[in-house]
Amino acid sequence: MHDKTLAELSQGLADKAFSSVELTEHFLKRINDLDGNYNSFITITEEQAVAQAKAADEQLAKGNTQALTGVPIAHKDIFCTEGVKTSCGSKMLDNFVPPYNATVIEKFNAAGAISLGKTNMDEFAMGSSNETSFYGSVKNPWNTSCVPGGSSGGSAAAVAARLAPAATGTDTGGSIRQPAALCGITGLKPTYGRVSRYGMIAFASSLDQGGPMTQTAEDAALLLNVMAGFDAKDSTSSDTAVADYIATLNDDLSGLTIGLPKEYFGEGLDPAIEASVQAAIKEYEQLGASVKEISLPNTDLAVPCYYVIAPSEASANLSRFDGVRYGYRCEDPKDLHDLYTRTREEGFGEEVKRRILVGTYALSAGFYDAYYKKAQQIRRLIKNDFVEAFKEVDVIMGPTVPNTAFGIGEKSNDPVAMYLEDIYTISTNLAGLPGMSIPAGFANGKPAGLQLTGNYFAEAKLLNIAHRFQQATDWHKQLPATIADQVEG
């Protein structure tokens, strides 16, 4: 069953080919048997999943079904789940059991989806390799000595290893798209404000956005149909009308203009990834699209700008973890100051502390204008580059990442080198645009991702463009050899 897409599994339930309990138990067994190889889950919610599946089977028997009734999925451990530990990959929240659900979780519950558990991630979503998790590194199913990417590395690995048919992720600087690329799956970061951030533990509030991580664009459309929409509980939620993302998947692509930013094909890009991307572009030309070279002249400022804005916002957001109301508290504090400083010293990992310090410095008296205000001005220049580009093209394409999955431990001692891996994904967050990564072949035996960036609220168009490619190619159907061997007839 695990070789099927979410759409196929949903159809199988409707056709009574199997029950939700059978399906859920199948995936729970896979997680229990195989996740020792990948470490993609932090918490497995076995009992709750089976109970949800039984309830779903009753609804299916009555013909009373919602969009995802009975299909199991996994959630990044950043979404608050009532009664289920939500750690955000941190020792700080290792004992945190939220008293409420994130809006995204509420929406999936209402749609009838089953939750298999919570997936591993970089601590507080700060990382591009999943190595900063308190719960240990996640291993890439294509090569278990390599990272899966991050920060949604557990979700990406779980889907790539077919331990879950689909999963949720969040993306602040590439945290859905980069692991999707490194693990050979499909990932979509919606427009800022499209998916509610309520109950999604905050990293950088002007950049964070939740989205689907799936095998196919069709599955991503199914999940986004559930996730998207206005939420009064999120003050930055958009009230722009939500499209039916399934309805336009098969639209014809003739007349589509693809923009290729010359800055995304320069120095630092692995030639094998470039070859995969160029082959994908050729495929799009076969599908009726035309190609135009464009320029995003401020591309090289995106990483510097991001590493002021994201740590600044993080330093403010993470001030709430103080050992007083919930989460970790140090032993035997001698006074209140000691309680705060030692709780935060012991509860946060190195990368999180580093970013809090950078953000605190950037926001401190005398430096605000030189760092934070400057970064906000650069941010507008980066957005303006995209606004200009979308006057001429319908979608922007390029590589998702400059290199394929790197070795575990290879870059963990050089933060700046790690940051530069996100060079192509970060500007999308700064501009607030929707972006996708889809499998586009292999480079040096590891998955290569094609990034699609769309105009504001053009998720339906992006999914259509991705779906047509997946109708014409089978890169998204490739499985790691060890997983392919487990597929029954």
Partner: protein, 95 residues
Amino acid sequence: MSVQPSDIEKIANLARIRIDEQAVPEVVDRLNDILAMVDKMQAVDTSEVEPMANPLDAHQRLRADTPTEIDQREQFQAIAPEAEQGLYLVPKVIE
């Protein structure tokens, strides 16, 4: 711009994070690596550019000034490290 070991004490205090004295040189080096990378921004003239706080240039949405939250104090304090009689407990502040 770069930070000195003496700056770290001030920043760490503002951030309420204790840093072991032995770790300070390493923290200084890493922060300076990041600041050197970030300083690329300083070469750009942004004197005419309006800072952007929200990618959609959206403004804070307001709602009617009526209570929307219900009392969940007991539920919230059940997960606190230390709470008593409806209060969060911390080490004594006033002698």
